[in-house]
């Protein structure tokens, strides 16, 4: 007993790692533009800045502080940031980007620091945290992260009318883009949420050193980790839709507290189509334990497709009391669900219009029926064969996982900039580091709202 007490007291005397990290935004803009834009602005959503530039800079520092509060490092993390004109048209525009300024390998640790895994690339901020030193490449470029965002958004000729929302409360109007969510996401990449510098298109690596990510990336088809693959195998795995997962223990352990149960559509009569994965929407009713009904694909009476559910179903359609199947496209997922619900459907099923599963997303509190996405192939089969089926919660898996490991985004056709370095879009609820930002995101980076911080802990944060 005394020994335990002494041991406990000794533990209390050990130095604890300082909580938090100092993430500092360096304003790189010249006077009068970007973060120094003097255009007056009214304070909004907790952002007390009184000029456009000041509000933008406040958002950046807020995002930096949010990350800083969730990481541990005694090395300051400098973010060189620019708010500058980026390519735009009236209907589309580059929003911005951030990434590690340097990657390091084989840097010896300072005293009390930890050794980096041999011959492995680490993003600058993480390498410095682990080795407990400022790794200086050039004293005049002391940055760990670089970020640049579009200052022209919403102005004439640049996604006109859809400017930034500078509030800090995630309450952006429908026609605005939440700068905070985008900056938080991009800072995540800069801190190490990316397979960079491995080339995800070819699988090749600089000096043939793996990214620190690769030891945690598992292809469940082959059972191989990326670190053990050839270049060709990595390139193929980057396109192995739904089968590339994050096998890091820290992130995987909190999957049940973050992701909802999965869903499945089970054919009962006839039963030839068996059980099929479905992706619950992030709106509508929670997936019921069991919901049985006939799957119908009613004609919506107009528009470019009669099967897309974009027009209100006419009276007498066979939507009432049925699980209504609709094709993806033409209108929003929410619009389809509203039309199905108004016609008396007990659930809405949206079949993809390209290969792979679709994850319906939107915001509409009035929808009280469950909504799921399925593959294009299953949708075609269900249309060809009228089927009585059960839509049910799958309590053995979590949405967005394979073997209960969270999926990484690996569509069949490589999406440069998106593939591999994001969570997969089948995750429910939506995660900060998915390739498509959705309006339901909060600014939390940790569980139970998000898996992102835990992934960073897996790689050494």
């Amino acid at each position: 007993m005394l020994a335990r007490l002494v041991a406990a007291l000794l533990l209390l005397t050990l130095p604890l790692p300082a909580l938090g990290a100092d993430v500092i935004v360096i304003n790189g803009d010249p006077p009068g533009v970007g973060f120094n834009d003097p255009t007056p602005a009214a304070p909004i959503g907790g952002n007390l800045g009184t000029t456009v530039g000041q509000q933008a800079l406040n958002v950046f520092q807020f995002a930096a502080d949010r990350w800083g509060a969730n990481l541990i490092s005694d090395q300051p993390i400098l973010v060189i940031a620019f708010f500058m004109p980026l390519p735009c048209t009236a209907t589309s525009g580059a929003l911005g980007a951030a990434g590690a300024f340097f990657y390091f390998a084989n840097v010896p640790p300072a005293r009390s620091g930890r050794a980096l895994a041999a011959n492995t690339w680490y993003p600058a901020a993480l390498a410095e945290k682990l080795t407990k030193q400022d790794i200086v490449v050039d004293p005049a470029t002391p940055f760990e992260i670089i970020a640049f965002f579009n200052s022209e958004l919403g102005k004439p000729g640049c996604l006109t009318g859809n400017g930034w929302y500078y509030g800090l409360d995630n309450r952006q109007p429908a026609n605005r883009i939440d700068l905070l969510a985008v900056v938080l996401h991009e800072f995540g990449h800069g801190l190490g949420f990316a397979a960079v510098p491995t080339n995800t298109n070819t699988g090749a690596r600089p000096l043939n050193f793996p990214s620190v990510w690769e030891r945690f990336m598992l292809d469940v088809s082959s059972g191989k980790r990326w670190i053990d693959m050839t270049d060709a195998e990595r390139a193929a795995s980057a396109r192995n839709d739904l089968n590339l997962v994050w096998a890091g223990q820290k992130a995987s352990n909190v999957v049940p507290s973050v992701l909802d149960f999965g869903a499945e559509l089970v054919a009962l009569e006839p039963d030839t189509l068996g059980a099929n994965e479905a992706v619950p929407a992030n709106f509508g009713a929670k997936m019921p334990p069991h919901l049985r009904g006939l799957i119908t694909a009613p004609n919506d009476g107009g528009g470019p497709s009669l099967l897309d559910g974009c027009e209100p179903f006419p009276p007498g359609s066979d939507a009432a009391g049925a699980i209504v199947l609709m094709s993806r496209g033409v209108c929003t997922f929410v619009q389809k669900a509203v039309n199905a619900q108004n016609a008396g459907a007990i659930a809405a099923v949206i079949a993809n219009n390209v290969v792979g599963l679709v994850s319906p997303t939107g915001v509409e509190p009035s929808i009280f029926i469950p909504v799921v996405g399925i593959t294009q192939a299953l949708g075609a089969q269900l249309r060809a064969t009228p089927t009585f089926a059960e839509l049910r919660r799958n309590t053995t898996v979590r949405a967005g996982t394979a073997f209960n490991l969270p999926r990484l985004y690996a569509p069949l056709t490589l999406a440069p900039g998106s593939s591999v370095s994001h969570w997969d879009v089948t995750a429910t609820p939506s995660l900060l580091m998915e390739p498509f930002l959705t309006p339901d995101l909060t600014s939390s980076v940790k569980n139970p709202e998000d898996l992102t911080r835990r992934l960073l802990v897996d790689i050494g944060w």
Partner: protein, 136 residues
Amino acid sequence: MRNLVFVVSLAAVSVWTVADQVREVRSATTLQVVRQPSQERLDQIRRSLMAQIVVHDDAEGVRAPTAAEAAALSGAASETVQTVALPGGGIALLTSGAQLSMVVASRSGGDTVQVTHGAMPATTSGDGAKGGSHAR
């Protein structure tokens, strides 16, 4: 035939070549003292970034790369990464803006805006949500 010029200058290349002018700034939240380069240096990085993310096209002027051009830029970047041996041991890899994952937004109809990564997304799905381009 239009004359397309991809500009893939590396931020890391240009930032190497400028004389060091350092001043000190103090973090608002802690007493950490950090070093900040001169505005001249920052302007140079800013110009370099612009050069990496746009295509100079004789017909259309400065514009964003198409999907194919963005892929070419990305490939070119991977071929030109620079490594530097550090004096204290270890290796630094200098990254480029072209390796960064650009967030883009597009409006498909009404006020629905899709926010995703990579090149300007095609707007065929019409749903404006996160499954918007999955497995496209």
